[in-house]
Every structure is written in C-alpha cells, then in structure tokens.
C-alpha cells in the first residue's frame, strides 16, 4: 500500500523554482496496475523517484505498507529499496562489464545473501526470463529485448512488492516492447504492484488505473474495471 499525502517537490532551476510535484495526494493499493502519463516535465518521473525512495519530497507524508517513509535514514531507505522495490529503466542501466547473470545477481550481493543461494535464485531467474543461453554474455552482446529482460530479472530477483518502470519500452521497437510489457504484466498477475510511467497513450491504456499528470499535479485518475 502506497499512500502519498500533500507531497511537494520543488527544484531550483537558476533563480526559478519549478514545482515538480504540487500538493500530490495519491493512494495505490497492493497489487494494482497503474500507469502514469503526461508530457515531459509533468512530474511523472519525479513521482516515480519519490515512490521508489530515490528522491525525498520537500514536504508531505509518504507511507509505504503503513510505514512512514519520510523520517527514515538513508541506510533504512536503501534497505527498503533493496527489499520492496524493483526498478526498470528505459535505458536498462545494466553494468557493461558484468555478464547477464552477474547483473541479475547484483541485488542479491547487496543484500548479503550467501553465494550458493544466490546461484540458485539467479538460475531460476535466467530460466524464467529465457536467458539461460545468454547468461555469460555481456550487455553489449545482447539485443535490446534481451537487455530489458535482464533488467527485469534483476528488478524482480529480490521478489519486491512494487515494480516501478520508467518508459520500459522507450528504447525498444513495437513488438519487443509488447513482449516486455507482457512480462511486466505477468508479474502484476502474481500480485506485484506495477507502476508504469510513460507518455505512450496506447501503453498507458493497458493499465487498470490511469493517472494523468501535468505541471506537477494529478489531472485525471481513472479506473477501467473492465479487466
């Protein structure tokens, strides 16, 4: 359960203050599939960063699973990111000198899991995302779709309760993008909260709940309960 109350985030651009998030109130229940849409500069990425604990609001309350986030220390935030949140980025953000398997393993290493257990988890993930043949390839040797599958495998390896995807198909062609979306939606079907930021209307329309943003405010918030 994500609960944002009166969240403000202001960036200083030269001598001009930009209200990236302007009095945002938002609740997202566990297991929801939400898309956040809006033109660039509407604040949708900032919203995602705040939900993902990468950024801190200047004011307001943020509760994640009934825990007040706004007062936690840096290390506590890192731990929550590690255990509850998985990020998927438009540019994949794979580490170029590590193999696919090693990239997927990173969150497990950060969590301090012993190597034998890590190995089992990584093998399972490679299998689940059909990457066994590519396990020992570096990102440069993978196709865009394969890279994003590695990134999704990395985001889900800690079995987070929330997946945050920022333009996950932005660097992929239409068909591969659709495949990646099916993978993410499969995670949602297993109970993970899925929040996708996009400016692609078609992609946004797949979500059960669509949030429209502009100038740091939520303009529309509609549920299609057809699904």
């Amino acid at each position: 359960m994500i609960r944002l109350t009166d969240i403000n985030r202001i960036f200083q651009m030269g001598d001009q203050a930009v209200h990236a998030l302007n009095h945002i109130d938002l609740r997202i229940a566990s297991g929801e599939y939400v898309s956040v849409m809006g033109p660039s500069g509407s604040g949708k990425s900032t919203l995602l960063n705040i939900i993902g604990l990468l950024d801190k609001p200047d004011s307001g309350r943020y509760e994640l699973d009934d825990r007040l986030i706004t007062d936690l220390s840096e290390d506590e935030l890192a731990q929550i990111r590690r255990e509850k949140i998985g990020f998927v980025f438009q540019s994949f953000h794979l580490i170029p000198r590590l193999t696919a398997a090693e990239n997927i393993e990173l969150p497990l290493i950060l969590s301090g899991m012993p190597p034998e257990q890590r190995q089992i988890r990584v093998n399972d993930a490679l299998q689940a995302f059909e990457l066994q043949q590519r396990a020992h390839h570096r990102p440069a040797e993978l196709s865009g779709g394969q890279r994003q599958r590695v990134a999704i495998a990395r985001a889900t390896i800690m079995q987070p309760s929330v997946i945050l995807a920022d333009e996950p198909t932005g660097n992929l062609d239409h068909q591969i993008g659709a495949e990646v979306m099916l993978l993410l939606e499969a995670l949602h079907h297993r109970g993970t909260t899925l929040i996708v930021v996009t400016h692609d209307r078609e992609l946004g329309a797949r979500a059960h709940r669509q949030i429209g943003m502009r100038d740091g405010r939520i303009l529309t918030d509609q549920d299609n309960d057809t699904h």
């Binding site: 960063n49 890192a78 255990e83 980025f89 290493i109 990395r154």
Partner: protein, 400 residues
Amino acid sequence: MTLIDTLQTSFKTVVSYRIRSLLIILAMALGVAAVVILTAIGDGARNYVINQFSSIGTNLLVVLPGRAETSGSFLGAVLGQTPRDLTLKDAQLIGRLPYVRRYAPLNVGEAELSAANRLREVTVLGSNANLIPIRHMKLAQGSFMAPGTENNAQIVLGAKIAREFFPHTQAIGQRVRLGDSRFLVSGVLTAQGETMGFNTDEIVIIPIDFAQTLFNTTSLFRILIEAKNHSDIEPAKRAILATLKQSHDGEEDTTVITQDAILATFDKILQALTLAVAGIAAISLIVAGILVMNVMLIAINQRTAEIGLLKAIGATSGDIRRLFFAEAVWLSLVGAVLGFLLGQFGSLLLRLTFPQLPAWAPAWASVAGILVALATGVLASLFPANRAARLDAVKALGKK
C-alpha cells in the same frame, strides 16, 4: 553487502579495467621498487665499508705521534719543535696496561728485497709477533717470531712476493737480502687482497729491532693495540693517553684513534645517506598516490550512472564507499607487492653484477615502502570514495 563480496566485486572491476589498472599498479610498483633498490644500494655500501673496516682488526686502537689540534695555534709549529717520538719503551708501557690484550709497535718503510737473482722494492713492516693477529693477517705457512726465535733475523713474505721470488720452490727456509742485511724466510702470509687501500700481499714483515736498524731510527710510526673487550676500548684509550703523558714529561703529544669511533661515524653517515635516498624514493610513492586519486575520480565520473543504479537497487552509501575504497586498496596492494618483488629482483641483479656490494634491502625499508604505498593509496581513495557515496541517485541515473 558482505566484506568478501565487496572485495570480490571490486577485484573484478580492477581486472575488467585492464590497462588503467596495469598503469596504476606499475606506478605504485616502480615507487616501491625504487625504495627497495635504493635502500639496498645505500645499506650495501654501508655494510661494504663496515666489513672492510672491521676486517683490519677487532677492538683496535692506534697510537700515533703528534696531537691533532682542533683550536688555537700549535706552539711547536712556530718554534720549529716536533712532537716527542713514540718509542719502543712507550709501547712496552702500554702493553702492561690492564685493558690491553696485546700490542704491536710498527715501523713502515721501503727497502730493496733481493733473492735468487731477483730484486724489487717492497714495503717493510717492522713489528712483533702480535702484528699478525691484531691486524687479522694469517700465515699460510711457517711462523713469525715464534717463542725462542724472537731475536733471529727472520722475515715473513706477502703471498705475492713469495710467489714472485720463489715460484717453484718452498719459500720457507730460503735466505733473502733486505737492504744490507740477510734474513731467513720464516713464514708466508695468506693472500688477502686489498683492504682499505692496503695490500698485504705485497709487504714483508721483519722484527721491529731489525726494522729500526734498517731504517736507522728509534722512533715508532704507530702502535697498534687490541683491547681485551669492546667495553675496554674507552678505558684503554684514557689509560694509554695518561701513560704516554707521564712518560713524555707531562706533554699530551700523542693521538689515539679507536676503530670503533671511526666505524660508528661511517655507520652514521651511511645510514643517514640510506635514509635520505629512501626519502627521495618515497616521493615517487606519493606521486603514485596522487595518480590513484586522479584515476579514481575519473572512474567515478565514468561510472556515475552505475553508482545511481547501485543506489536504486538498494546499495547504501557505505556499500558504495567501500566498493571504491576496496578498488583503490587492490590497486595499491598489488602495486606494492609487485614493487617489492621487483625491488628484490633488482637487488639480486645488483648483487650478481657487483659481488663486493652486499645490496640487501633492509627489512625496515621494504616494510616501510609497502606500508607507505598502501597508506598513500588508501588515503588518496578516501576522497573519491566519499564523493561517490554522496552522489545524488536521481541525478546519477540521469547521466549517460
């Protein structure tokens, strides 16, 4: 993140940036190797001089006539007086002092040696039987002034002289002529080669009385004294000066040099030299440290997006600080160890090239070289590692 995982991950990073890592490691290694090799040369030179100096005797004191004035004007020089001579009587008085194990009066001169139709100029030492042990010389054959034969006209030949004059026959028992007197060869010295610029292979030794007759003198060139123990050197020196002052009518007109004091001075000077050289070499380590800092700062710049990603997937600031820190430690450590090996190898080559020079790097220098390399590497990485840890995750992720 566990310590082992941190070390493994950073090690993998070091390996994957192969050329960059090799260059830093090389810089570190050259610095450490310079410390090791230069101190090996310095300490080798020190040991060389000390060995040479020690080989001329043990607990040695040397009495010479005249007094080295360090201040004021020497009255004798103005009045045309010379200091009183050292005499055999002085030597005998010194020989009775309690701290003295043995003494050898010494006269030195040149004379013509002839035998078996051969003739050459030789350096003649006149002394007593003690000269041989005091000066750490050895007789290959025969004896010198053996008990009961002290008054005989006998001569000991240096190894080269014996070889030159009697290439095919036994030298012992041969008659030779030195100046105008005839001597019986009683012994031959073991070949020693040159020590401190004095070659014992080309000298002859005769009893002091004969030498004083030969050179028509009653004064001594030197008196060599061996103290009983190392701790007796200073009291022996004081006693000798007191005895000579008394026998010279209250005039302090002799000088006593101790081998120990000269040795200590050499030791100090050469030790200081070694330290200075090590210090200069250590500067290259500091340069290497700055290189580590520079390269780590560049690495952080290149890997900004990666740092952002690590934060996004749950790395704490501490994890990131330790990762970059460990990376610098690996570079410094491998560089230091490689430099140590390189330095030892260089010292070995030096020892093989110059066998007289005991070019062994002192342990303190090797340890200090490695520690300074590690310390500069670690210190130089603190600032970049902290900078990486403090990066803002959102901004870092946005950087390509």
